[in-house]
């Protein structure tokens, strides 16, 4: 049997806050295989971002086991296997776009002569060729977010984790970027974890959709997508797409009703 890349068994996470303990994750069981595109969807406070942060080793579960490639997330983080894209682009204003993409490469001690070629390659991947010398404030929000994806791709991380990367963008830009993310995924064959609020976005992108609900944060449904890997934007009008979207909506509603 093939071993999953990410394996969560009964993962629990309780935050101690001033208002008492908050049960952020309860009994989360999930296996993600190599090359999968997994979306986490659910209302605010359902723990989807927290779970992504657990995978990335930015939070530590208080119970259960979570392994990535058979190692703890902490160990995997130290081996620099994650590219993380945050809600905001978070580009450094004092660095050019190319300078921002160079940042992880400098920290990870990539050989200096290789760096320019890598920067060019990922700029090309996210369709920002020729923008390397611009400063972040000279770019639109969508372009900034693309640059931050390029930054996460630059060091060839095995796993790409994206936390509502397009949440702050308008629908038109979001559609375009969704298409590009799919192309990127096809081109790089990375394992992708993707947090979103949007049902169409989750269904359009994913091979697996994880529906979560709050208080305590838990998984209510895991949907294996039956959509083909080739997905033009029009696929969102197909019957199959609507069927999956319907099941996601049902899952979200069920989580609320309890």
């Amino acid at each position: 049997m093939k071993k999953p890349v990410i394996d969560a068994q009964n993962v629990d996470l309780t935050f101690q806050t001033n208002d008492g303990p908050v049960h952020a994750l309860k009994d989360v069981n999930l296996q993600i295989d190599k090359g999968e595109f997994v979306s986490f969807i659910g209302p605010s406070g359902c723990g989807k971002t927290t779970f992504l942060r657990c995978i990335a080793g930015l939070e530590t579960p208080t119970g259960g086991t979570l392994t990535v490639n058979g190692l703890t997330p902490e160990e995997t983080r130290k081996s620099r296997a994650y590219g993380y894209v945050f809600q905001a682009a978070g580009l450094y204003p004092w660095r050019t776009i190319a300078g921002n993409i160079r940042l992880p490469l400098e920290i990870m001690d990539f050989p200096k002569p290789d760096i320019p070629a890598r920067v060019e390659k990922v700029l090309d991947l996210v369709d920002l060729k020729g923008f390397g010398k611009k400063y972040p404030w000279q770019l639109s929000g969508g372009m900034q977010q693309r640059a931050s994806i390029a930054r996460a791709l630059a060091f060839d991380a095995e796993i790409l984790l994206m936390d509502e990367p397009f949440g702050a963008l308008d629908e038109i830009v979001r559609d375009k970027l969704n298409e590009e993310v799919l192309k990127l995924w096809a081109a790089t064959n990375k394992t992708i974890g993707f947090v979103t609020h949007s049902i169409p976005e989750a269904v359009y992108l994913s091979t697996k959709i994880v529906v979560m609900s709050p208080r305590p944060g838990r998984i209510t449904d895991v949907i294996e997508s039956t959509l083909p890997k080739e997905r033009p934007l029009e696929i969102r009008d197909s019957e199959e797409f609507i069927k999956i979207a319907h099941r996601v909506r049902e899952g979200l509603r069920a989580g609320h009703a309890e």
Partner: protein, 287 residues
């Protein structure tokens, strides 16, 4: 042009008020003189006399300007009466103290941000140091250092540093903590070391804060130097000019030294401002 008109208007108002005050404040002496000589004082003589006294209570603007011209342009720089000479004495101590204060302030801020014990332990002392009146502590520093055989430039620079390190500490602590959780998490996903996070994220983020504090710090350093020149019995420096002026009732000398100090402070702040613009522009942070 739109900017110059209001500035000139305010300046004109100040000059008019100043002349009025000079006539009023200096009139007593004119009346006393007239009474002794048994002559009457007309309005004309009152005005010309009050604005041309040798030791007026309040010198008129043109007297101060004349004294400034005389002691900067007309005198040789090496002269003991040259304001350029005294200004340089004060400026050199100010710059040295500002340099020490800035380095010390940045070092303390780095320690405070990276070390919990320093965070809790140093900041209260830094704040306490600024609540002590500088006039009280300056003579002690000078006396102590003098007994150790250190005098002249160094004691003044230390007092200047004492005043200028504080804004730098406060500004740099805020600046080094400016990166938000997301930016710190990003560095964490790269498994960046503390040093890498400092050089590549914290330090560049703190630059705008640093320059804001440097502007306050350089002015504070100048004040510190001038205060340090008062009690030391110094014969050189703008502080010494202020002191000797007040010993001998040379009000015109006091006022011209005051204006020289103000001009020096303005020049220093402007220089820091220009430096700020150049650096931030080079970093791409000035839009």
């Amino acid at each position: 042009m739109n900017k110059i008109v209001p500035v000139l208007t305010v300046l004109a108002v100040i000059v008019v008020v100043w002349y009025g005050a000079a006539i009023k404040m200096n009139s007593q002496w004119t009346y006393d003189q007239a009474a002794r000589a048994g002559t009457e004082v007309t309005f004309g003589t009152l005005v010309t006399d009050t604005l041309a006294q040798e030791r007026p209570k309040l010198p008129a603007p043109h007297q101060v300007v004349a004294e400034l011209w005389d002691t900067t342009v007309a005198k040789k720089i090496t002269s003991k009466r040259s304001l350029v000479f005294h200004g340089w004495i004060t400026l050199s101590a100010t710059l040295l103290g500002f340099g020490i204060g800035t380095l010390g302030g940045v070092a303390l801020a780095v320690g405070i941000v990276h070390n919990k014990a320093m965070d809790l332990g140093v900041m209260p002392w830094a704040i306490a140091s600024q609540t002590i009146p500088i006039l009280a502590i300056a003579p002690m520093i000078i006396v102590v250092l003098n007994s150790m055989g250190i005098s002249g430039l160094i004691p003044k620079a230390i007092i200047a540093a004492y005043l200028s390190f504080f804004p730098v500490v406060v500004g740099m602590v805020k600046g080094l903590r400016a990166p938000d959780q997301m930016q710190l998490d990003l560095m964490k996903t790269y498994n960046a070391s503390g040093a890498e996070t400092f050089w590549k994220l914290r330090l560049p983020s703190s630059m705008p804060y640093l320059f804001a504090s440097l502007k306050v710090g350089v002015a504070a350093a100048l004040v510190g130097t001038i205060v340090a020149e008062l009690p030391s019995g110094a014969t050189r420096g703008l502080g010494a000019r202020l002191l000797s002026g007040s010993y001998y009732g040379q009000t015109i000398q006091i006022w011209s030294a005051l204006f020289a100090a103000a001009a020096l402070a303005a020049a220093l702040v402007i220089v820091v401002g220009v430096f700020e613009r150049v650096v931030l522009k080079k970093m791409g942070m000035a839009q």
